[in-house]
């Protein structure tokens, strides 16, 4: 049998070249990490019918079905149709599998749908972001986490979005029991202190995690009606210069974040290294090359940050350059 496969098209179609000749794996996109039981059953069907009855859970909350013969890709795409529709992927054509694989699955912790500390609906925001940036070939990683605990490891992404609430204090409901002060110290950043029997919040230190609200026994602390976010940028793993994303914006709003991430695609188009392997380059390397101010210019195009939003005008990433020094001493 002649085997003539357009590997570049196949990869774009979310099938990978595997170690085993002629065999591939199908990557199923699960924006926000929430999949219906019905779609999960379809995934199982594909794995049993065309794979070898195994399913990899990917690092970015998707699933990957290994052991698929390359010639079965059209049939797998047919079965993927109902999953693509069900997961709300933004593509009119659901007949031919996934239309792109560059922009990675948008990750989210369970957020307020499950977690007592989640400050917003991470799943919904991740799905909204996915619809805004997918399908797209650019290698962009976005992740959402409900609070500053960062269980979703957003600090390893190009854009990491962390939920914040602005604690609202009603001194008339406060009995000065000090539990918020104690739990802020033990579980968070020691932003609270008791002064004259009432609580004072160090607004600069407060990271808006909501621990005080959770532990307040009287509802003296409540959450702000607005949901706010902290945005960390340009985190990455990799061989040359892995680094954690650093804070860029805090107390920023949802709409601005969507605009900023969308704007970044134009920045990448303008400045990406034309010789980047497989057309993939972490945005952070582009920012290193062209300068942070240039990135800000493009990313903030048409964005009106709210009054409360704070923006770092300089961001420094502390990291190791393995392409220059691999000495442990």
């Amino acid at each position: 049998m002649i085997q003539d496969v357009d590997v570049k098209a196949m990869k774009k179609n979310a099938f990978r070249v595997s170690k085993e000749r002629g065999m591939t794996a199908s990557r199923v996109r699960v924006p926000g990490g929430l999949v219906s039981a019905r779609s999960m059953a379809r995934i199982v069907e594909i794995a049993e019918e065309y794979g070898r009855g195994e399913i990899f859970l990917t690092n970015r909350q998707g699933v990957e079905i290994p052991g698929i013969h390359m010639e079965d890709m059209p049939k797998v795409n047919e079965l993927l149709r109902s999953i693509i529709k069900d997961t709300g992927i933004n593509q009119g054509d659901s007949e031919h599998g996934y239309l792109a694989s560059g922009t990675r699955n948008v990750v989210a912790c369970p957020g307020k749908r499950l977690c007592p500390f989640g400050c917003y609906d991470t799943t919904a925001f991740a799905q909204r972001m996915d619809r805004a940036i997918f399908p797209n070939d650019r290698h962009v990683k976005v992740a959402f986490t409900g609070c500053s605990n960062d269980c979703a490891h957003v600090a390893l992404n190009d854009f990491g979005v962390i939920g914040m609430t602005e604690p609202q204090y009603d001194p008339a409901r406060c009995i000065g029991c000090g539990q918020c002060v104690e739990w802020c110290r033990r579980r968070s950043v020691s932003a609270l202190s008791l002064v004259n029997g009432k609580v004072v919040r160090n607004e600069d230190r407060c990271i808006g995690c909501g621990v005080c609200v959770v532990y307040c026994p009287t509802r003296a602390w409540t959450r702000s009606s607005e949901h706010y976010f902290r945005v960390k940028i340009m985190g990455r793993t990799g061989k040359q210069n892995p680094r954690l994303a650093q804070d860029w914006l805090r107390w920023v709003d949802e709409d601005s974040i969507v605009k900023i991430v969308k704007n970044t695609y134009a920045f990448i188009d303008e400045y990406i290294d034309p010789n980047a392997p497989e057309g993939k380059e972490h945005i952070g390397y582009i920012v290193d090359r062209v300068g942070f101010d240039e990135f800000c210019k493009w990313a903030l195009e048409g964005v009106e940050l709210g009054e409360k939003c704070q923006r770092a005008t300089r961001v420094y990433w502390d990291s190791r350059r393995y392409d220059r020094d691999n000495d442990l001493r």
Binding site: G118, A172, R173, G197, R223
Partner: protein
């Protein structure tokens, strides 16, 4: 005498009532819960029927009116003292100087709770004048309970039928509302807003899912039993159970000296909790009941045994708010039943001997 009202009638009624009285009622506070986008039902002053939450159990009780969470009692300077004015939450500016009487809307269990507060503050040694001052201005209205809520055990505590301390009742019936009116003086108000008159008996709960049986005696062996150890392990000592309780009355004092001028200040009293660190701390820093199991014993036995030794009836009214709020899913009801079982077991073992009841 009773009345039938439609939505519009209730709106008019509450608006007019709120002109002559302060109206204190359960209010759904959107997003005010512990967790994101979760509501909380808390008592507050209302001037509109739409603000009143009639369908849910309030998470916190009416007692915040009579015994505010935080209340400034007086201000002092070098040689002068001035008492703080007004009713309502300390620091609440709008209501602070208002001297109108207050109508409080509450369910049968909470109406029974008032007797406990009165006995603690007025009939337990010298009267508490701060409590008395507010109490004298308070009138009660009954919210009928067609059915109980999760964790309610009012029937077993004998608080499912309201006492006679209310002046009118209010509850949904069909598409509208019905009110029974006891106070003669309120009738013209209801007649102005009602669709019609009718015989109304406020609904009450006659069956709960939760059953509690209280101990009849309390041998020392049960007080010191290891059954309390479980709570040392499980309880985190947050005190939410006592702060939502309509019958917990403990408070502590805060003397505050204004930082800019240490010769001026105020004395506040704030609610305290026998479950929270510091409650049993004495001069020198020693603390009794360090373990949460001991605190649980102190609280539970006070609610269903020790209070009875002084006042002749049980303190707990079975509203179940403590079971609703506990973050560690500790059930007060389950604990009481465990205690009663332990007492029964002790009784069976010591049949015929003299019960040591301290």
């Amino acid at each position: 005498m009773g009345y039938v009202l439609d939505g519009e009638g209730l709106d008019g009624l509450v608006r007019e009532l709120a002109r002559d009285y302060l109206v204190f009622a359960p209010v759904r506070k959107v997003g005010a819960g512990r967790f994101t986008d979760v509501d909380q039902v808390i008592y507050d002053f209302v001037d509109d029927a739409s603000q009143i939450e009639l369908d849910a159990k309030s998470d916190y009780s009416f007692k915040e009116l009579l015994t505010p969470l935080s209340q400034t009692l007086f201000y002092f300077t070098e040689d002068q003292v001035r008492e703080a004015r007004g009713i309502g939450p300390a620091g609440g500016s709008g209501q602070g100087g208002d001297d109108r009487d207050v109508f409080v809307l509450m369910r049968a269990c909470d109406l029974h709770g008032v007797r406990r507060l009165d006995d603690m503050y007025l009939h337990n040694g010298p009267e508490d004048s701060f409590y008395r001052r507010v109490r004298e201005r308070v009138h009660f209205a009954l919210i009928g309970c067609p059915e109980g809520f999760e964790h309610c055990f009012c029937v077993d505590m004998g608080t499912n039928v309201a006492p006679d301390n209310w002046e009118f009742s209010l509850e949904r019936r069909g598409d509208g509302y019905v009110c029974a009116v006891e106070g003669e003086s309120l009738r013209p108000l209801f007649e102005r807003h009602a669709k019609g008159a009718s015989e109304v008996v406020p609904a009450h709960v006659s069956q709960n899912e939760v059953h509690v049986s209280v101990p009849g005696s309390m041998p020392m062996e049960v007080r010191t039993s290891d059954l309390w150890d479980e709570y040392t392990r499980r309880c985190i000592g947050c005190g939410r159970c006592t702060l939502v309780c309509p019958t917990c009355t403990c408070f502590t004092m805060q003397d505050v000296l204004y930082t800019e001028n240490g010769r001026v200040g105020e004395r506040r009293r704030v609610q305290a909790s026998c479950m929270i660190d510091g409650y049993s701390t004495v001069a020198g820093g020693a603390s009794y009941r360090k373990r949460n199991g001991e605190r649980m014993r102190f609280k539970v036995l006070h609610k269903v045994y020790d209070f009875r030794q002084r006042f002749g009836y049980d303190m707990c009214v079975g509203c179940g708010r403590c079971d609703d709020v506990c973050p560690e899913y500790i059930s007060f009801a389950a604990c009481v039943n465990k205690v009663t079982d332990a007492v029964s077991a002790w009784d069976a073992q010591h049949e015929g001997s003299v019960v040591s009841d301290d």
